[in-house]
Symmetry: D2
Subunit: 321 residues, 4 copies
């Protein structure tokens, strides 16, 4: 192969630029050219491709967001849209496409290769960490750090006012962020979509924690939990009679300078994606498991389920004693 | 005088601990004793006083929140409640009270001195910066920095998705935080309670900015603006047809390690409060204007209005060109 | 006037980009064109000028360093070098030059206007805050924050090991950073070039502080103090027999995302510089005093001395009690 | 068992408090008592033990340093010193000791159990990550993040001045920090103790990178490399004739609020240490490999060598292309 293309798709995640950089520089190191596609599949369908070289990636490893931009594409869901995208890739002499994104993006990539025979490799870029086939996704570590920083700040106020803070973190379908933040933030309780915890138990725990003399309590809720943080907060306030505040962290968890773990993961996976294409591999996501790079068929990344760390879940419980 | 008391009251603000530390250490330097009152006026009315010495303040200058805790007090609004608080101060041999807080707290302090002749000094501790008689209040600088950090993060996502972000920052009655954040965050627009800007103009500005090729727009809204960020966001989305996201930063703006400016201001004002009591002054707030320490009668701090910096307002406008 | 040029010169400072952005956008707002000069006077002498527009400044307000680059120029110190620079400005139709930098840069600017009649305006951009004619210089606030963050980290280690840490911060001729960091960092002692404190006194203070039960002591030293932190550290270790570590913070104080105060100051001063040129003013530095923009003849900025805040100096002493 | 003791020893590391908290709370959850030993083995030998309960650990998970203090102990290296320490443990009814620290500390622990039959468990707490038997050590992630943050700042200045920055990070015997920081910081080169790279090659690489148009180069050096950053910097400056600056990050890498990964690792390992003692295990270090908790005989932790990640090393090389 001589030329590969790369795009970012779906919600942006910190470290996407580090992944693009790794693709571009690994390719350059191996004598390949790289075309950057702007605005994800939406731009691909419109033919927004441009050659990018190693120097274009200077000073990007530390930047949040994605310099290639990202977008949702309704057109890509149509066979015609994908056909046009495939044509643009062929017209530009592209031998393979690297897609940095989450499960929706991988779905689009999978269709492209199945319908048009274009080699595709997925790179897991999403803060939610909800993809099977990799221990962690690019952006996850930074999102946890940002949420934790907010929890540390809220604890200052919570402790000073001896209040309960119910904090909603991202995670529509998965409690990975919530669980990490709960353990690292020293939370009293955590609600995740994977689990069905009766609110009554939590009310008892909060009451109990006040009696033990704790100044302020922190409860972490993943956004995918029915009712969200507001529902949990209302129930706690009603059940305990204690002053309860709700804080929804929202989009700040997506942005910011990526932490080292995300930059390193992105560097490794961007590199691995180029080598996968060079090795004639297609239709897989590159991931990291332990210290190893692994390949997982794209459809498994969304069909199989990555459970949260149950040991951590039990640990969280004990440490709030 | 031989013994002073200090309390924090109202919403917590970063730098309150630095102010308590300055009171305690300046007093120690001058040979006075200090009693810390826990839980503000609520605790004063219940007699929660305890001697604190210089060593108790070790490693507190960098901590958010308030180690003396804070609370709202319904009882303090009654003459009986205040009489009991005054009695506790007399029983403990306290010659003067230093109150770190905002206008509500100063009101409570003012009544204490008027009704019971107890010397009181106010120290401006509130993130909103809405007190007359000081250029800045303790906690303000940190709140601006926290909000700005969030804006920087949201800009990453906004630019990557080419979206409009409407961001609500604290400021129920005043646009100080909003204005600073708008200028420092490079926002396209800012809405503050002091100003009545037609939403139609803003819609034009946003449309215009998109046409000029700006990738993503940031609009800052102070929480005191009617409708808040949600109202502004809905109107912009409806008026422009562009994807608009709303982010309400909320309580994270209250917490966190105080920045240097807040620690320095708190150190100066805590020191000044002790000297004011030693000089026989009472019923004033200590503040900083330019490089000078000034005294303002407590009632003026809430009766007179501190306007936002109009030059900055005009500057914000130009720089979003 | 129709066209202005802008350059950054000397050591870089966080907020320089915000100042460039303010120059470019204010100019655009007023219908003027701006040429950016790369690599300071060195680039001016070689003719490295290029038109820059408002969109070129997107996403720069939060970046450290200077997108226009900076350099020292030996050639500029010769009349021939300056003549060539003046010629480049005239050839490009530039009606005035805005120089963002420190005293050395202003000296070069002053010669340019005196020898060639080119209108020049200085904007104070240096972390040291050692320019007469402005309360603060651009970059100063961020440098203090960076140094303070380091002090907070070193205090963790110092307290855990019950050690003395002697920390050197920037400030070759001025103790502004050192003094702010000492007060905000809760240091036991501070050494600044403006003051001649016998090391013996400090040894007594450190001994005394250990006897009072303080866990770990922090001593701040400005780099301009004879012997620097190493000299002070050696003397303390020898005089007290206590384990003493020296940490020289160095260049990290120059970089990083500018804090809000630097971005706001830079925005105001960049704006003011353009209006000064439009008003026919030349040979001055724009500065901020209190809330006002003031003009100071360039030569006064380095001839007159801005003293450190003596009240703060006394305050630092008391609060380490 | 009914009562365990815990101490921190050697250099402090961010996350040590989270580990202590996990020990104390897991023990409380299981109905055991915990005695905290102050000042490591030095304090143990002097009998500085005190009961600590779950509430004593409130608001400590986010703090750098160690609330139990740490120290080096010459006495512990003598059999008499260890005998006295063992006696204090027996006198206080302690059934097992948890030692949080590095290889030196584990050596001391190993002798205690061998000579006096006291069950001991090691918890890896050191920023260097140089212990065999765990993927990562507590404090490592935070140290990398702190160093990376400094590199990001220096890159601002380096790029603005088009300079070479040679940056020394911690790692006396191991290049783990250096390697992670090099990849995440986008460095041109990295020198680690595990590798013997001819300086001539690096000079060529730096020259080459300048010719390719890179603005500023970053070279990372682990402190254990002969000559350190200063030696490398001098050689580069001499060999390239380019302006080269050296920055030694030093002790700031030890302190600061621990990042989430360190807090989570510390929570898991503190918990695991208590269960190891309850299970009758002794003489091992608890570590984490992949997602699993593993036990490694103490002596193996310093006898066996944990190599740096060679894949990462190769990756660093390619991405600086």
């Amino acid at each position: 192969i001589q030329r590969v293309a790369v795009l970012t798709s779906g919600g942006d995640a910190p470290g996407m630029n580090a992944a693009i950089r790794a693709v571009v520089r690994t390719a350059a190191f191996e004598g390949l050219e790289v075309m950057g596609v702007r605005r994800g599949f939406s731009g691909l369908h419109r033919g927004e491709l441009k050659l990018i070289g190693p120097r274009d990636m200077a000073n990007t490893i530390q930047r949040g967001g994605t310099i290639l931009l990202t977008a949702r594409s309704a057109t890509w869901r149509t066979p015609e849209g994908r056909a046009r995208g495939a044509q643009h890739l062929r017209d530009n002499g592209v031998d393979g496409l690297i897609v940095i994104g989450g499960d929706g993006s991988f779905h689009g990539a999978d269709l492209l290769q199945k319908e048009h025979g274009i080699p595709v490799i997925g790179v897991p870029g999403t803060i939610d960490n909800d993809l099977y086939g990799t221990d962690h996704t690019i952006g996850y570590f930074t999102a946890v750090e940002t949420a934790l920083d907010a929890v540390d700040k809220l604890r200052d106020t919570g402790a000073s006012h001896e209040r309960i803070f119910v904090i909603e973190v991202m995670g529509r379908h998965a409690g990975h962020i919530a669980l990490d933040v709960a353990v690292a933030g020293g939370a009293e309780e955590v609600f995740i979509p994977e689990d069905d915890k009766p609110i009554e138990d939590v009310i008892e725990i909060v009451k109990d924690s006040v009696e033990k003399g704790k100044m302020g309590s922190i409860v972490i809720v993943a956004e995918g939990v029915p009712g969200g943080a507001q529902g949990v907060g209302d129930a706690i306030q009603a059940g305990t009679g204690l002053e309860t505040r709700v804080s929804i962290l929202g989009h700040i968890q997506r942005g910011g300078t990526p932490v080292s773990s995300d930059r390193i993961l992105a560097s490794r996976l961007g590199e691995a994606a180029v080598y996968a294409l060079m090795d004639g591999v297609s239709g897989v996501m590159v991931g990291r498991h332990g210290g190893d790079i692994i390949h997982t068929p794209l459809h498994e990344t969304w069909e199989k389920r990555k459970d949260v760390n149950r040991d951590l879940y039990r640990c969280a419980k004990k440490l709030s004693v």
